[in-house]
């Protein structure tokens, strides 16, 4: 798996776009609102030019990242307690698993009910969505192999040193995976909250452009959302690689 440029792959991607353009322009496919890629490019230009895109993107990123950051702190702290303190795990884990079975999107109407059409709704939803993967991955990560903890005891490390030098490093890779998954879900759920709740951000931009029958701009917004997801994912991975080089490599995540 080299880092070579995949020319064939890129060519197929471009070819696919060309085919789409051709099929729509020649009228082989007749959906009333399916724009050809050239219209999408024009739409992207329009959104960019009018400044709508920057405002919406900024709003969505703010809501998603704020919720995610809160979830990261809560999830790692609560997950550590659950993973390290056995009685807490015994007397709480099943409740969490029962709650997790509730489909996250079904919470969006509840959040709208509680917080109305405000940015709090978005942050709450984003936080709730990101909390689960972060919390559960932290719990799993903290339940280190007994042998590693034992070797720490043999080396006469204090409990604090066992935590800091053995358990935390062992859990890092799993926690980073949780943070990454959490960021993806929090972005998606923020978009949902914007579609049904707070009329702002990229999610609302999509709905608005759809209702205004501007399919070019709408597809452009979808494109921006896709790219945002890829970039955020890349940033988290890059930051994690810089911060925890050794731990990630040993877990095969790097």
């Amino acid at each position: 798996m080299g880092r070579r440029l995949n020319i064939v792959g890129a060519a197929v991607f471009v070819l696919g776009l060309g085919l789409w353009e051709l099929v729509v322009r020649t009228g082989v496919l007749t959906f009333s609102y399916l724009p050809p890629p050239s219209d999408v490019a024009v739409g992207l230009g329009e959104l960019f030019g009018s400044g709508e895109l920057a405002t919406a993107l900024g709003h969505t990123l703010f809501a998603a990242l704020t919720g995610w950051a809160i979830a990261a702190v809560l999830g790692v702290v609560a997950g550590s307690v659950l993973g390290l303190v056995r009685p807490v795990w015994t007397y709480a884990m099943a409740s969490l698993e029962a709650l997790r079975a509730l489909p996250i999107v079904a919470f969006v109407p509840v959040a709208v009910l509680l917080y109305g059409f405000s940015v709090q709704t978005e942050i709450m939803v984003s936080c709730y969505a990101a909390l689960w993967p972060i919390l559960l991955n932290t719990v799993n990560g903290m339940r280190t192999e007994a042998r590693m903890v034992e070797s720490g005891r043999v080396l006469r490390l204090s409990p604090a040193a066992v935590l800091w030098k053995i358990r935390l490093p062992a859990a890092t890779a799993t926690i980073v995976v949780g943070l990454r998954l959490g960021l993806t879900t929090s972005l998606v759920l923020t978009l949902v909250a914007e579609m049904v709740g707070n009329p702002a951000g990229l999610g609302f931009l999509l709905v608005e452009k759809g209702q205004a029958l501007q399919p070019g701009q709408m597809f452009a917004a979808v494109f921006v959302i896709g790219v945002t997801g890829i970039v955020l994912n890349g940033l988290v991975m890059g930051a994690a690689r810089l911060a925890f080089r050794g731990q990630l490599a040993s877990a095969g995540e790097a």
Binding site: N6, V8, G9, A10, A11, V12, F13, G16, F31, S32, Y33, L34, W89, T90, Y91, A92, M93, A94, S95, L96, E97, A98, L99, A101, L102, P103, I104, V105, A106, F107, V108, P109, V110, V112, L113, L114, T184, L187, V188, L189, L191, V192, M195, V196, L202, G203, L206, V207, G210, L213, P215, M218, F219, A221, V222, I225, G226, V227, G229, I230
Partner: protein, 248 residues
């Protein structure tokens, strides 16, 4: 669920009991659990709840089935050949990165507010886990497994049904296990956003009418659905992969 002690349900039960005892039945935000049943009652007597659950279940089952078929088929074809894999993977990667939620308004605009639109939106994201596990599994199949039946002179049909399908089935089911909860979430999502029939639409409607007890009641029903789906796919996957491991 993986040996989690049942005692762990105590905090949840305690919370619900406290909520029931201390909660104000007229609260517009946190109505106590007993009012949830009353909240759903009008839907039940108006004969709306069961059709809604049926609609959601139908979209979910159909969507997941189509996603499984398409995912397994494309995954197998892509995994069978390195050049094809290499040629398609950037396009597949980009399509996969598009969040399901962003597809909803697009599909609604292009296909209209219809049952087919719901299906398309469910199938696309639910297909990925199955496609990817199937691609990896097909790629790592031993060439001996594929050459032996050819040497034995089995027809193409027999090779596919007797060798390829059983060899890939556990990976397909693993993909389905990941895809099933996702498909349910997306089914509810489409319904909440577009309000086209089903449990999600009922939830959305209850929320916009500020029927908070009904919202919580429907949320509980959605939770039960989610639990059932999880339980069924996990069981099916362990049963089948256990049997497969026994034979090879």
């Amino acid at each position: 669920m993986g040996g989690t002690p049942i005692r762990g349900l105590i905090p949840l039960v305690a919370l619900l009991v406290l909520w029931q005892v201390l909660g104000d039945p007229a609260s517009p935000y946190f109505p106590p659990p007993s009012t949830w049943v009353d909240g759903i009652e009008p839907l039940l007597s108006g004969d709306k709840l069961l059709p809604a659950i049926g609609d959601t279940a139908l979209t979910f089952v159909l969507g997941l089935s189509i996603a499984t078929l398409l995912g397994a088929l494309i995954g197998t074809l892509v995994g069978a050949s390195r050049p094809v894999d290499r040629a398609l993977s950037p396009s597949l990667e980009f399509l996969r990165a598009l969040p399901a939620a962003s597809l909803v308004p697009v599909a609604a605009l292009v296909l209209g507010y219809t049952a087919q639109m719901k299906l398309v939106v469910v199938v696309l994201p639910a297909m990925w886990p199955i496609l990817l596990t199937c691609r990896t599994a097909r790629r790592s199949l031993s060439p001996v497994l594929l050459d032996t039946p050819r040497t034995l002179g089995l027809s193409r049909w027999d090779r596919v049904t007797k060798v390829l399908t059983p060899a890939l089935l556990p990976s397909v089911l693993l993909g389905v296990r990941v895809a099933a909860p996702l498909a349910l979430i997306i089914t509810l999502l489409v319904e909440i956003v577009t309000r086209v029939n089903g449990l999600g639409a009922a939830l959305g409607a209850a929320q916009s009418n500020f029927l908070s007890a009904q919202v919580y009641g429907l949320l509980t029903i959605a939770g039960v659905l989610g639990f059932v789906v999880n339980w069924v796919v996990t069981r099916a996957e362990t049963a089948v992969s256990g049997r497969m491991r026994g034979t090879t």
